[in-house]
């Protein structure tokens, strides 16, 4: 009897520890442990990388930092069906933490990136934000992963007066959530039309366009609106729109209908697994025209879904590893030291989010001194500094409007080029 009870208790304990759904208490413990472990491994990677360039780099940076670490929250999807994107953001944020701490942190004080798992839904994001704000007492938050989650969680931070930077929220209406909400991710209305222009350059004969989107995802819904407007404005024929869910796997119906519409261009707004599957099933059923993928397909994870059939998919980009700047070169070097590929947009945006916080904190420290401010005042001053600053990030030069919308100068368009079934790359065509 007793052995059975102990067994069940152990099982339940293991479940609580393993469970991805974040209740405020268990996610706080689990999340910060994960953060520590992950940060340790990433720091090790960064240390190895820096040792190549400078033997004394690590010891110097450790000696320079002093004072209590400044807690900065990063709330992204580490579990759930959007963990694909969230995992890339975690890597970007951890590289940023190690990178800026090696360079003296915030005038000698280290920053401490506290990861909190939002999972893939709105409730998870709200829990993660509440934990970071109330328990971890962070100065600001980079997150969440999805626009859908931002509409639920960012108002919590706004009401608490905690600055939030959306690393990948591209739907319309994100900066308008509140005074404390800004984003480093350019809105779809700016990024997406570039892909249609490139498609028309590649095939000027395009007349008929079919569109499919994930209707249970706010970002995909917003993105497809932009695509559809662009198609109509360009005088192309827009076929009846096809819908799916991000959790769908079988797209035979949609693919068959699209092929029967006889389009020369198909535009898909979804996430990596579902969007990649639709690409694959379209190709398998014989579609040979051009395909544009939305931002959700902007990840190397899509390669494994459609394999060689991903070849040629056009995707608009807010980031290019090829951007010629010092900070981007350093970011790419740090990323490739730990990963066997070039950094994706989601990692670069998370890095930029942490960078903006660090540089804004330095600005606040220079002007008012961080120690002289109570936490609420510090958060408010930090928010003002974020919106006032200009930042040279791996995304290029960025700044913010008064509302918190990002001003980004350069955008790109890439095309997927597959080497084999598993590996491919984004080749920049603009």
């Amino acid at each position: 009897m007793r052995r059975g009870t102990v067994g069940i208790c152990l099982l339940l304990a293991a479940l609580l520890a393993a469970c991805g759904a974040p209740s405020p208490t268990d996610s706080a413990a689990g999340g910060s442990e994960d953060a520590t472990e992950a940060a340790t491994s990433e720091e090790a990677t960064s240390e190895e990388a820096s040792e190549e360039g400078s033997d004394a780099g690590e010891s110097e940076s450790t000696a320079e930092l002093s004072g209590e670490p400044i807690p900065l929250g990063v709330a992204v999807a580490q579990t759930g069906n959007v963990a694909l994107l969230g995992q890339e953001q975690v890597i970007g944020a951890e590289i940023a933490e190690a990178f800026f701490n090696e360079r003296g942190g915030v005038n000698g004080r280290p920053i401490d990136v506290l990861l909190q798992d939002t999972a893939g839904d709105e409730a998870g994001a709200s829990n993660a934000f509440n934990t970071l704000i109330n328990q971890n007492e962070v100065v600001g938050i980079v997150g969440p992963t999805l626009s859908q989650q931002a509409f639920a969680a960012s108002p919590i931070a706004d009401r608490a007066g905690v600055p939030v930077l959306g690393p990948s929220n591209t739907a319309a209406g994100i900066p308008e959530i509140g005074d404390y909400v800004a984003r480093v991710s350019a809105p779809v209305s700016v990024v997406a039309p570039n892909a249609v222009e490139v498609a028309l350059e590649q095939d000027p004969e395009i007349e008929s366009v079919s569109v499919a989107f994930a209707q249970n995802d706010a970002f995909s819904t917003s993105e497809t609106g932009t695509f559809q407007e662009t198609v109509t404005e360009l005088g192309l024929t827009l076929n009846p729109v096809q819908t799916f869910q991000t959790t769908d796997t079988d797209f035979t119906s949609q693919a068959s209908t699209i092929i029967s519409q006889n389009p020369q261009l198909v535009i898909i707004s979804g996430l990596a697994a579902d969007g990649g599957n639709l690409v694959r099933q379209l190709r398998e059923l014989g579609y040979t025209g051009l395909i544009i993928g939305g931002n959700g397909l902007n990840t190397a994870n899509v390669f494994t879904v459609c394999g060689l059939l991903c070849d040629g998919v056009i995707i608009a980009q807010a980031y290019s590893p090829e951007l010629d700047s010092d900070i981007n070169a350093e970011f790419v070097e740090a990323y490739t030291a730990g990963q066997d590929r070039n950094p994706p947009q989601f990692s670069a945006q998370a890095f930029a989010g942490v960078q903006v916080f660090v540089e804004a904190l330095i600005a606040v420290d220079d002007e008012q001194g961080l120690d002289s401010l109570e936490l609420p005042a510090l958060r408010t001053a930090l928010n003002e500094a974020i919106l006032a600053g200009e930042y040279d990030t791996p995304l290029g030069q960025i700044s913010f409007t008064e509302e918190g919308e990002v001003n980004q100068e350069q955008f790109y368009v890439a095309q997927i080029e597959m080497e084999d079934e598993q590996t491919g790359s984004f080749t920049f065509v603009r």
């Binding site: 099982l11 393993a18 991805g20 963990a83 694909l84 869910q245 959790t247 092929i259 990596a272 697994a273």
Partner: protein, 311 residues
């Protein structure tokens, strides 16, 4: 029309063999094994590993692969056997201790739900959340699609769907033979009829429970691998949606009824396939609408027997 029919039969046949896993355990223990959806996922990953494919960028096993790669049919079978063993371990850890203490079936149900969550999280820790795809050589030299129409009016059907339907039907036939034609199968039926009487007659119920969990895991893994072959293994969570759909299938077919699960699986698959194009994103709801409609008329399910209350 033909396209929809075959699409429906292909996905419906996978629902059927997946739901048979639920049915086997339910018919013996009268408990829904909520970990079945997770075993479906585990099986798909095991098959993936056995084909010699490597893991991606995230997770503890990133970049790792076996030093050998098996042909897909062999990997599928071996993966399913291993997943069957996972089913046995689940029985020993999550079901047996509670059963021995005579715990309420609700506790067992929650325990299996816990195992499902743990398995999914362990998978993500090990292999990350990215999707994985079986090698394109999995179907040998078969073309990716077969045109059942003419060149002018093509009716393309993906070859993988035809393969899935064929394999699923073979599995159903073999399972039916096993249950009806073998000694162990008859013993399983006896236990499902009345476990106490079967035990009094000398049938080792504990061993048969293990058999049913093994078979259940085996069937779940075959379903998972076939779905993975068609649409890739879409991450550790991809079994959850099938888990819910499988529940609809067994309730529709009649709890614990094997032919009922097959009929209900095919019916739900066909119902989904014939959802009009503009509403196709809502097809998951179709399974449950069909279920609701049938239960109003036949609360015992399509082929289930009505429970007679003996006072």
């Amino acid at each position: 029309m033909f396209q929809n029919l075959l699409n429906g039969l292909a996905i419906g046949s996978v629902y059927a063999i997946f739901a048979l896993g639920y049915t086997l355990v339910f018919s013996i223990l009268r408990v829904i094994n909520f970990a079945h959806g997770a075993v479906f996922t585990v099986g798909a990953y095991l098959t993936y590993v056995l084909t010699g494919s490597s893991f991606g960028f995230n997770g503890l096993l990133r970049g790792q692969s076996l030093p050998f790669g098996l042909p897909f049919p062999v990997a599928l079978l071996l993966g399913a056997v291993l997943a069957g063993l996972v089913g046995v371990v689940i029985e020993r850890l999550a079901f047996a201790p509670l059963r021995r203490r005579g715990a309420d079936t609700l506790l067992t149900l929650v325990s299996s739900l816990g195992v499902a969550v743990a398995l999914v999280n362990i998978l993500q820790y090990l292999v990350g959340a990215e999707p994985y795809r079986y090698p394109s050589t999995a179907l040998g030299a078969l073309p990716t699609a077969i045109n059942f129409g003419s060149a002018a009016a093509p009716v393309p059907i993906r070859t993988v769907q035809i393969v899935i339907f064929a394999v699923s039907m073979v599995i159903v036939a073999l399972l039916t033979y096993f249950i009806r034609g073998t000694r162990t199968g008859k013993a399983l039926r006896a236990v499902s009829e009345d476990a106490t009487t079967a035990q009094l007659l000398g049938i080792d119920t504990d061993r048969l429970i293990l058999y049913s969990f093994f078979l259940s895991g085996f069937l779940g893994a075959v379903a998972g691998s076939l779905v993975g072959l068609s649409v890739s293994v879409a991450g550790p969570y991809f079994g959850l949606a099938f888990g819910l759909k499988g529940l609809a299938v067994i309730v529709l077919g009649g709890l614990g009824d094997i032919p009922g699960a097959v009929v209900a699986g095919l019916l739900i698959g066909l119902a989904e396939a014939f959802v009009p194009g503009q509403y196709v994103a809502y097809r998951d709801a179709v399974a449950f609408v069909v279920l609701f409609g049938v239960l109003l008329v036949r609360p015992q399910g399509l082929l289930g027997r009505a429970q007679v209350q003996k006072v």
